[in-house]
Structures are given as C-alpha cells and as structure tokens.
C-alpha cells in the first residue's frame, strides 16, 4: 500500500485519479489547506491538492510571474501551461500568500495564451487572515458562495446531509492520520519520514475512502514492523511548502529520521476534528480558520510555538530543520524567531533557504545537513557540566 501512496505522491495524474476519471468523476484542484475538501467531496468531486512536482523548466511560469516570486506557484503554472493539469475539471486558488494568490490571474491569462489549459471551472477564494467571530462569519459566507458556484457549474446539489457525511468521512481520515503521527513519534519509529510524507501527500491526491483503507492497512502493518530508529537522530521538519520526497531522503541519508513535520503539504490538516454536531458550513468555517499553523495567519506565532513545543516533546526530537522556499518571507522570517526561541531551550535548529522543485541543490543541502547532524551528535556526546 505504501507503493500506491508513493505513486500518488510522485505523479500528478496517478492511477487513482485515472480510475476516478474513467468512472466519469470530476476532479477539482485547489491550492491551499484553507480550502475545505469536504465541500468538494460533498459535491461528488475529487479534491486534488495542486502541486508543482516534476517541472524541468519555468519558461511558462516566468512568463507571467516576476523574478521575485516563489517557485511553488510558478511550477504549478508551468505544469498547467504545458497541459499536465489537463485532467482537472476545476481549479480554486486562494490568497494563501501573495505569490500563490497571483496564480489566479496568471493562470487565467496563461489559459488564454495556451487554450485548453484553464479548467472549465476556475475560482478565486479569499480566506481571512485572522480567526475572530466576524472573520469566521465572513469565511462562512464565502464557503456558501463557493458551494453554490460549484453546484451551478457542475450541476449538483450539496445537501446538508451530504456535507455532514463528508465531514464525518474527513474526520475519519484525520483520525487515521493522527494514528500515523502517533506511530511516527514513538521512540521506535517504524516509518521513514520519506514514506510518511508520501502518505500525507497522497491524502490529498486520491479518493479519501480509498486512502483511509490503505492507511489503516499501513498502520496495522507498521505496528508490527521493526524499528527504523536505530539510534538515528530524530528531526522535526518545519517551514514552507515541501512535497519533494527526495528532499526528505537527503535528510535521512545523513543518519536522521524525520519523525514529524509542520510543512505545507505535510501534517497541517488533521490536528483537530471538525465539529459534527454544528451547522456544517459553520463547523467548517470555524475549523479551517481556527487552524493557525501557517504563518499566513499573522499574530498566532505563540500558538504555533506551543504546538511545535508539544511535537518536540512528544517526539523526543533531537533537532529542527527550519526551511523556507526562496521568496517565502512568511516562513523565512518566522523561522528565525523559531530558531531564537527553540535554541534558547536547548533545541538545535538549522535554518535553510532553498528552491522548490526538482532537487537541484542536493550537494549544498546535503553538506548543510551533514554539518547539522555533526552538531547534534557533538551536543549529545558532550557531557553536561
């Protein structure tokens, strides 16, 4: 089952998507964790998290974006422009960050230059940047509008009942992922960070019911599997969007095991459950806007630090890698505050800026990680005075 998940994590139009399409299903791509997949699911659509994997050029991305924009949306636009997202029936772009929000107009413009590359349904969805009563109410209204737009375009009705069923299913998925987290954080970890990341990515790249079944089988197997820890240093990976399994492999080849993460595409989406008793749209609004792991939610550093401290403690983390994609100021600057605060508590941190996309900087990254591992090992072997 891990092989199927790895396939879903490393290819865009994976076999689950193909099967879904062959059965007449529609697929809607979305750009950010602040889009409730439940609504898409309740509309009978397959939610698919947009990614920029496998790009070998930015010729299209750079034609619309400026030089100082992040490579994540540029890679997505590149794939869209070259037709790799031809399987999408819809796309939704949010104001997750300033580079990502411009994917909306860049894609629409590219869609005119490269006919057929903009899905039939395309929407811009604005998410507030704070979680207070009036922003939750505002977001709920936006969700309602998105639901109606999807209903209108795809000719479906999203009933409250369907929405409740989807919320329930997605909560089931969250619980399954929480269980996986529990296994990752154990002293004797039976899954590599690379494989765990494949699972997390697959959660948003295949039908959820199939994902849950596969994950349950996987966790049952992991509970009986031998430990991979073997004295390896236990790392927490934090920061910008990261869905490159090779990046984690490079980290783990240095004698570490990534036991937890807070990266976008990683473990951000299942820390808590959606309220199944409340009005469905209100419950979704409160849940999604209450998620402050992403620094786009300005003013919530304190709660992010508490969350991270909890993970470090539970996972007996030896060190933290704070990475940011170049031009990601939100993560980049906050990483330095995390570094200050975590180092003050004696937790070694490594800050690194990198490019998104095919791992073109393996040598540099490997060297930095090797040096970090050396530092952690020395710290561990130095007797306390």
């Amino acid at each position: 089952m891990i092989d199927a998940m790895r396939e879903a994590a490393t290819t865009l139009e994976n076999r689950f998507v193909r099967e879904w399409k062959e059965a007449g299903g529609k697929v809607v791509g979305y750009s950010c964790t602040f889009i409730p997949e439940e609504i898409l699911h309740a509309a009978g659509l397959l939610p698919f998290r947009l990614r920029g994997i496998g790009t070998t050029s930015l010729s299209i991305g750079d034609s619309y974006y400026g030089a100082v924009n992040c490579s994540v949306p540029k890679c997505i636009l590149q794939l869209a422009g070259q037709g790799s997202y031809g399987f999408l029936d819809g796309s939704i772009v949010t104001n997750g960050c300033d580079s990502m929000r411009r994917l909306d107009e860049c894609w629409r413009t590219a869609g005119r230059d490269y006919p057929g590359t903009l899905p039939g349904y395309h929407g811009y969805f604005a998410v507030p940047h704070k979680s207070v009563d009036y922003s939750v109410a505002f977001y709920e209204e936006e969700l309602k509008r998105m639901k109606e737009a999807l209903e209108g375009h795809f000719g479906v009705t999203v009933s409250d009942r369907a929405l409740r069923a989807s919320i329930s299913l997605y909560n089931e998925g969250r619980k399954a992922l929480q269980k996986l987290d529990g296994l990752r954080l154990r002293r004797e970890t039976a899954i590599s960070g690379e494989d765990a990341m494949a699972v997390l990515i697959a959660a948003h790249a295949m039908p959820l019911d199939r994902f849950i079944r596969s994950l349950e089988e996987l966790t049952a197997k992991l509970e009986r599997s031998p430990s991979l820890s073997n004295g390896k240093k236990r790392l927490l990976l934090m920061g910008s969007a990261s869905d490159d399994l090779d990046f984690i492999r490079v980290i783990e080849e240095s004698g570490a095991i990534v036991v937890a993460d807070t990266v976008c595409y990683g473990s951000r989406t299942y820390g808590s459950l959606v309220d199944e008793q409340a009005d469905p749209l209100h419950a979704l609004s409160s849940h999604y806007l209450g998620n402050s792991i992403c620094p786009r939610m300005l003013g919530y550093y304190g709660s992010r630090r508490s969350f991270v401290s909890g993970v470090i403690e539970k996972g007996a983390v030896d060190g933290v890698i704070l990475q940011n994609v170049r031009f990601c100021d939100l993560h980049g600057s906050e990483n330095s505050i995390f570094e200050r605060d975590l180092e003050a508590r004696g937790i070694p941190c490594m800050r690194i800026e990198r490019e998104y996309g095919p791992l073109s900087e393996t040598g540099r990254i490997r060297m930095r990680i090797d040096a970090f591992m050396e530092r952690i090992s020395q710290a561990a072997s130095t007797p306390a005075v």
Binding site: V68, S99, P128, Y134, L298, D329
Partner: protein, 468 residues
C-alpha cells in the same frame, strides 16, 4: 552595522537634519549657500525642495513637525505607535497622547537624506532574522528599531494583512523580536459590498479598542471630528490639484507628487499638511493659468505615470531628473486617494470613501472606510483585474491623465505586485500605453542604481519616440 551608523539614534538624525533644513531659508541667501557646502549629501534635495518657494518651505516644516513629535514623544509623556503606511494616521491624531510613526515614511526620509541611504539598517534586519528578500521599504527603518537605535514603540499597528505579506510580516517580526503588542488590520480581497464594509468596520473598531487599551485613553469625539473635518478639507484640495494635473501641459511640478502623498501619509488631518496643500494648489493654479508646465523650465516633453511607486534614491534625484528633463510626473497610481470627489473616482463612487461627522458611529465608519482605501489597500487586495483593482485604476488614470508612458518600479520584497506586473505591462501595451518594467528597488540603490533606472527610462522613451 558600522560604528558611525550606530553612534547616533536614527530618529534623532532624521529630526536633526530635517529640523535644520526647515530653517535654512530663515536666514540670508548667503547663509543658505554657505550651509549647502556643509551638507554635500543632501544639498540637492534641499535645493530642490526650497526651489519650490513657500510650498517647499512648508513641506519641510511639516516634516520637521512630524519628526519633532516623534523625537519629543517621551518628554511630552505620549505613547509611540509604530506601523506601516497602509494604516491611515487619521485615527491616531484623534488621540491627544499618541504619536504615530510609520516605517516607510522614515525609510524614505533616510533614503533621501543619508549618504548611503538605509543600507545598513536594511542589512541589520537580515542579521536579526528577516529574509534578504523582505521589503526594503520597511527594512530601511525597522533595522534601526531592532538595533535599539530609535525610540522603542509602545505598541504596533499594521494594516497590510491581506494586502501585502511582506509588509505585514515585517511588523509581525518586530512584535515578536522586541516583545511589543501588535494589532493587525486585515482586509478581504473584494473592495465593495455590504459584507466587506461590515467586516472592515468591525475590524477597525477592534483596532480602536486596541489603541485605547495601549494608549490608556479613550478616543475623544470632539477631537476626532476636528481631525476628520481637516481630513475632508485636505481631500478637497487634493482633488482640485489632481484635477488640474490633467491639463496639458501638466501644471503640477514633479516634486509636488511627493509633497502630496508624503503629507497624506505623514499628517492627514493636521493643519500643517493643509497649509502645504493650499500652497501647492496656489502654485499649480498659477501655472495652469499661465499655460505653463510645472517643471522649472515650464515645458513638458513627456507625461509619465508611475504605475506603482516612485524612486526614493539618495538626494531626491528622481524628482530632480524628471524636472531637469521636462517630464511631468502625473499622480503616482498607488498614491491616489479615493474619496468621493476624486476626479479618478468619477463613475466609480462605490469604490470611494466619504467622511460623515454627524455621529460618533458615522465617524468610526468613516475612519474604517478611509483605511480601506489607503494606497495598496484599495488596489492590491484582490485579483489585479477585479473591480476597483490595479488594472482598472491604471486604465482610469490613463484615460484621465493621458500619460505618454507608464513605468513600474517596486521593491524586491513586493511579491504581490511582481505577481501581476507583467500582466499590467501587457495590458497597458495592448491598450496603446508604452509600459516599462524596471527591475530595481525603490528604496535600495544596491539592487540597481538610480543611474541605471534613469538610463532605462531615457532609452525606453527614445526607442518608443516618446520625448518630444
């Protein structure tokens, strides 16, 4: 940071320079010329400002008053509020014990007046933990605050969340780094609509509660009314100046563009800015009546619309160059202020704010509405081609002001505008307006020198046959 840079407080140095500069014409011409010899690094800008006669002198005095408020904040027992330019200062002037200081205003002062601009303060930010690609407009002054080289603010306010990540992030970083409380105003992506107004007004009331809590005083109704009425008077003057700027030749001197928006960002609702505007209007009217351009020669060879922001290179050479080359500088696109009477808002009244001083509630709503139409907050909150956003404003201004070309200039931190500036360029060109994207930084000459920018603009105008 070099020892000599950290020798004196940043805000004191600005205060000292501008306060002295504002007095130079109080003496004799001979004394003024003698003074220019001892200020080689900003003699050009002093000369340029004071060549504007009474208007230049009033502008300098307004700047001196602004910096004096900051310098004397402690001795007067007031609270210092640090923020960024997207938050309207009008509210803060309605508190008698709050002095607002805005990052970008301080950066621009220092960029123009200091020999090496603000490079060392910018770099200090990166040492403290900012990314190198964070916006120079904030880094240019925030570095001084992080380094303890300026009066420590009592609280922080930012209005860029939902508008500009890097701007909002700079103040967020400052809050965490220095341990100072912060309020972030946030904005939806749409500009108009009942639910948008409601959201913004509620958020603004939360800001007022925050300010009251940290200032330790209540917002005074009488004072607020007086500030808002002054603000309205200023808007009327700005509207008339911008209306006259439509004439060919444009009767507004290039540097007046700076006077107008710098005043709006420094002293909205304060009498010193009204005095500047009245004097500006007098100059612009006089030029218009004489059929003269606002340039020193009185001629206009080209009309330039900066479709984002101006260039704040050392010694104010940007405006000096425009003037020396007889280029009329039309109102910079981002620094338009969409009150109900603005000439560029005609037919788009739903995108404007009004000022209603009839009740306290009406005034609070007016404050929120003013803030929702601040530079960038209006134009960059949503998709560039949505109603009331960047593209529509560019086309509206182009129709009104008849520029010969438009130039984009921003900063390396500007993800939001860089994500759409190629689309803007393309749309402008397709509509027949020559458009130039400058890869430079308005606040950091190290990215590309002003001479480089100047050459690019000159060559562009030559190649496109723009200069008459």
């Amino acid at each position: 940071m070099k020892k000599e840079t950290s020798e004196y407080p940043f805000d004191w140095m600005l205060w000292s320079s501008v306060m002295s500069g504002s007095k130079v014409l109080d003496g004799t011409r001979k004394e003024y010329e003698a003074l220019l010899r001892v200020i080689p690094h900003f003699r050009g800008v002093i000369d340029l400002l004071l060549s504007q006669g009474e208007t230049g002198r009033l502008f300098m005095r307004m700047g001196a008053e602004y910096l004096d408020d900051i310098k004397t904040v402690r001795e007067k027992g007031k609270k210092l509020c640090f923020g960024t330019f997207v938050a309207a200062k009008t509210l803060f002037f309605a508190f008698d014990n709050v002095v607002p200081v805005w990052a970008e205003v301080m950066t621009v002062f220092a960029s123009i007046l200091f020999r090496k601009g603000t490079a060392e303060y910018m770099d200090y930010c990166c040492e403290a933990g900012f990314t190198e690609t964070s916006c120079s407009a904030q880094r240019g002054s925030v570095g001084a605050y992080l380094a303890g080289l300026a009066e420590r603010p009592d609280f922080l306010v930012c209005g860029a969340s939902g508008i500009c990540d890097t701007n909002a992030n700079a103040v967020q970083f400052m809050s965490e780094y220095l341990g100072i409380p912060l309020f972030q105003l946030t904005f939806p992506s749409k500009l108009t609509g009942r639910e948008i107004d409601e959201y913004q007004r509620r958020d603004y009331r939360a800001l007022i509660s925050f300010v009251e809590e940290h200032a330790g005083t209540r917002l005074d109704e009488g004072r607020l009314k007086s500030v808002l009425e002054e603000h309205r008077r200023q808007d009327e003057l700005i509207n008339e100046i911008h209306d006259l700027a439509r004439l060919k030749p444009c009767p507004m001197p290039p540097i007046h563009n700076l006077f107008l928006y710098a005043g709006k960002l420094q002293m909205p609702g304060r009498k010193s800015f009204t005095a500047v505007l009245e004097s500006m209007l007098h100059d612009v009217r006089k030029n218009a009546e004489a059929g003269r351009a606002g340039t020193s020669s009185g001629r206009e060879r080209a009309r330039l619309l900066m479709c984002y922001i101006d260039h704040y290179t050392t010694d104010g050479r940007f405006w000096e160059w425009m003037d020396a080359n007889d280029i009329s500088l039309l109102p910079t696109l981002i620094f338009t202020f969409f009150n109900k009477g603005a000439p560029y808002a005609r037919g788009r009244e739903d995108q404007t704010y009004g000022i209603d001083t009839s009740t306290m509630d009406a005034m609070l709503d007016s404050l929120a509405d003013i803030n929702a139409h601040m530079p960038m907050v209006k134009q960059l909150r949503g998709p560039y081609d949505a109603a009331g956003q960047w593209r529509e404003d560019l086309f509206q201004m182009t129709g009104l002001m008849q520029p010969d070309l438009t130039v984009y200039l921003g900063s390396m931190g500007c993800r939001n505008s860089y994500g759409a500036n190629k689309l803007i360029e393309r749309d402008a060109e397709r509509s027949g307006l020559p458009a130039l994207l400058l890869f430079a930084d308005a606040f950091d000459d190290r990215v590309a020198s002003w001479e480089f920018c100047q050459d690019k603009i000159s060559e562009f105008m030559h190649v496109r046959g723009i200069l008459s």
